[in-house]
């Protein structure tokens, strides 16, 4: 029991020394790694004055005429630019992009939803046929099919033969009829 207590005390002391050594070389809280951007390169609050707009446009590598932030309606976009909602499918595939798989150049401002607009995901490229023409053709086809099916239900097609004749009162017992009741008599004749 004494040995166990001694070993417990020695282990606690070692742990305390390790913990102090770790704390001595740890970075203070709130510090960032050297690979991160500086504070003036990060997004900031919504720009109010023209000077703030110019500074934000320069920060995002955009012209002041092109720079348009998201409206300040409480959704937390800050001064991030509002870029057109076009996916990477619409970009020129033959242009020598810096990142050919992303069709994106270094330093180009990225869309807020860029991870949605990559070429594996949402495609906003225009359809070969106008949308309204496609919708009209689809509705014409669908309505024609439904009308024809409906007509087929109202006016069914059949062969010019009588119904098939079954024995044992139209298989009364086989079809689940009550064996205690008298079945309705069905007689079939030769013709």
């Amino acid at each position: 029991m004494a040995a166990a207590t001694l070993r417990g005390v020695l282990w606690q002391r070692t742990a305390a020394r390790l913990w102090a050594a770790r704390a001595a070389v740890a970075a203070p809280s709130g510090a960032r790694g050297a690979s991160e951007m500086s504070k003036d390169l990060m997004p900031g609050p919504y720009p109010r004055t023209p000077e703030e707009r110019a500074a934000a446009a320069k920060k995002y590598n955009m012209r002041v005429e092109d720079y348009e932030p998201y409206p300040d309606d409480g959704f937390g976009y800050g001064d991030y630019p509002k870029l057109p909602n076009k996916s990477f499918h619409e970009r020129d595939p033959w242009y020598p992009w810096d990142q050919p798989d992303m069709r994106h150049n270094w330093g180009e401002p990225m869309h807020w939803d860029f991870d949605m607009y990559i070429r594996n995901r949402v495609d906003t490229s225009p359809t070969p046929v106008p949308w309204h023409t496609m919708r009209k053709h689809f509705l014409i086809f669908l309505s024609t099919m439904l009308i024809m099916f409906g007509l087929g239900e109202i006016f069914p097609a059949y062969r010019p033969v009588g119904p098939k004749q079954y024995p044992f009162n139209d298989l009364y017992l086989e079809r689940g009829g009550d064996p205690n009741k008298e079945p309705p008599v069905v007689m079939h004749y030769e013709i």
Binding site: A157, Y158, P160, G162, K164, F168, Y189, I191
Partner: protein
């Protein structure tokens, strides 16, 4: 094949039989010595043979023999040709009987219409 459909839907539906409402006339009308159809296999045999309900018709005795032959001659598939032909021939005659029933119904409807027209003409003649 579509003539009866055209007559029913676009023409005179009065003389075209509706297969869902057949038969509408008594069986002995015009055929005084009609024999009832004979069922050879019993209901118990069909139940023990586990024949599907749609196939328990008046040709089921041929089907039972055919099924027994298939079971005994497996895996040789060409041994039961005669029994298969007997069943198919019976089904064919059954279908021809259905066609005749349809035609009988149609002619009786036409006769009914003729009789009614004659009565109306007679009633109109006496009324004048």
């Amino acid at each position: 094949m579509g003539a009866h459909l055209a007559r029913r839907y676009l023409g005179d539906a009065e003389t075209e039989p509706d297969p869902l409402q057949m038969p509408t006339f008594p069986a002995e009308l015009g055929l005084p010595d009609r024999r009832p159809r004979a069922m050879v296999a019993t209901a118990r045999q069909l139940a023990e043979g586990q024949v599907p309900l749609e196939q328990r018709d008046f040709c089921a005795h041929h089907l039972l023999r055919l099924l027994r032959c298939h079971r005994d001659a497996f895996p040789v598939p060409w041994q039961c040709r005669d029994l298969r032909h007997a069943w198919d021939a019976c089904q064919h005659h059954d279908y021809v009987m259905r066609m005749k029933e349809f035609e009988r119904e149609r002619r009786l409807l036409q006769r009914q219409k003729r009789l009614r027209r004659r009565e109306e003409a007679a009633a109109a003649a006496t009324a004048q």
